[in-house]
């Protein structure tokens, strides 16, 4: 089986991956990184969302071998251990999670947005999380939390 070298949340890994192994299978099954979830396995729900070289992807439909030499960020890699990313703090304080299953994917999608656009409008936030489904919250609190985090991050920079 081909060998896959990749960096995940700042650490280097080398694992075997087959021709049709998904990045999600590598993360969860081989590296035991369980933040990204299996919600549908067809790229429809977004619970598997991760950043691949800084871009938002759905890891359940990402061929693992195409991630060779690349860097993956999952929810566990948002910050140094022990600290909170403003997004995590905002989700916690704004009650933006109920069952929490969509939360890792939502946080990663939000980070992808704020990395590129530090001052999004509400519509831009909705667009950014349009690939992430939530069956619990109705999205309102999630959007609020992302807007609040964006504001806090702008303040910090200023």
């Amino acid at each position: 089986m081909p060998m896959l070298k990749l960096k995940v949340n700042g650490r280097d890994y080398e694992v075997e991956a087959g021709p049709t192994t998904t990045l999600l299978e590598v993360l969860r099954g081989k590296l035991l990184i369980t933040g990204p979830k299996i919600g549908c396995n067809t790229g429809d729900c977004g619970a598997c969302s991760v950043l691949l070289d800084g871009r938002l992807v759905k890891s359940c439909i990402t061929n693992a071998l195409t991630a060779h030499g690349k860097e993956v960020i999952t929810v566990e890699g948002l910050v140094e251990p022990g600290e909170f990313h403003p997004l995590q703090k905002a989700f916690y304080e704004h009650y933006a999670s109920q069952c929490g299953f969509c939360t890792p994917g939502m946080l990663v999608a939000a980070k992808a947005l704020l990395d590129e656009n530090p001052s999004p409008t509400r519509d831009e936030v909705k667009e950014a999380i349009s690939g992430n489904l939530c069956r619990c919250t109705g999205y309102v609190k999630i959007i609020e939390a992302i807007m609040a985090a964006a504001q806090e991050m702008r303040k910090k920079k200023a």
């Binding site: 979830k37 995590q88 916690y92 069952c99 929490g100 890792p104 069956r135």
Partner: protein, 448 residues
Amino acid sequence: MEFKVIGQRVKRYDGLYHVTGEAKYVDDIYVPGTLTVKALRSPVAKGKVRCLDISAAEKLPGVAAVITNEDVPHPFQDQPILAVNIRFKGEPIAAVAAVDEETALEAISRIKVDIEEEQPVFDPLEAMKPDAPKVRPAGNLYMFGKYPYRKIVFGDIEVGFKEADYIIEENYLHLPQEHAPIEPSACLVVPEADGRLTLYSMSQAPHLILSWLVEVLYTEPTDPRCAKWSGRVRQRGITSLGDIKYISAFCGGAFGGKLSIAPEHITAILALKTGRPVKWRWTREEENLYSTYRGPWNVNIKDGVKKDGRIVARQIRSIYDGGAYTFFNPYVVDKYSFLAPGPYFIPNVYIETYCVYTNKPPAGGMRGFGVTPSSFATEVQMNKIAAELGIDPWELRFINAYRNGDQTPTRRVLDSVYLIETMQALAKKAGVKLPDRLMKMTSAERGK
């Protein structure tokens, strides 16, 4: 008085687990050596399994066990768990525990099954007919005592219709709804050295699952079925709640859809047989197609209404399609029936609610357990009455709202009703200006 919790904004402690990715759902729990489960599901909606040959599957390298109906100690209520008489498309017939998903799926494909297909019935209206194919031996209607429907009689409906100035009748259809939680159903069963089982499940009803699972697995040590099991459990059997340690994993959404023992019984039997940790994680298709759901409702409401807006007679005849097995359906039908007329005082009420079996996966509970569909029908009916009489829809509800001292159709005398005050507060918040005569009403006992 200072409150620490009441009236305070309290953060969800599990919010921290959610945002850090530390929350462990069933599939996040890793136990070395865990086997994967796949089920052979019936391709037809109704039939009899004439021949089931699991030998090729059992021989496949990497397969630890294959189970059939013979391995199941007790059914779950009226559900056999692994079916011989198939009642719905997708009903499990056999199950495999193997080292990985690929092997488990290959094993499933090697099971030889011969099913004699029978005529199914899908439409509840068809299923109610006397010559309809029988979903279950006792017939397609659940018996509520001596009646094939839940019957509630209050006052005299025919007298009420005669007294009325208008008769307003309408049909309502509430389609089935699937919870579709983002986390599909899953459970992990780990046999312990002392013969007990540890069960990790995403279920929203741990106590129900625990007691139901013990009922399904119940076997005294002297039972020959114990001899087929692995490890110390052979000597001690499964005889009490204490034989299973239930650990709730985080639940990735349920809404009433994770109340049934869905993956737990099959997974537990495989764990008993193999002596190894066994995990069953349903696919998205399995979760959406075969988990319980809110069944569809066919409703007819016929009201007798006075010119001044008082509803003096309400007749609600409903048909609930509960799928192939009983589960919570009678409870759903009862909750629906008790609350169907709505929070309104109506002196003559007749409720007739059928609970029908069809060859579809069994329905279950969902957010409201029957009250939600009834609210839909009743409240749309109220608006229809308001429109036909030319009365404001708010006013219609004020006129008919319960007052303290009123009796419900189920004979309960009410003593702390606040619908009127709630509507008044709601109108204020919504910026709806209600006429003074409505804002002056109270829920005080009539004539007091």
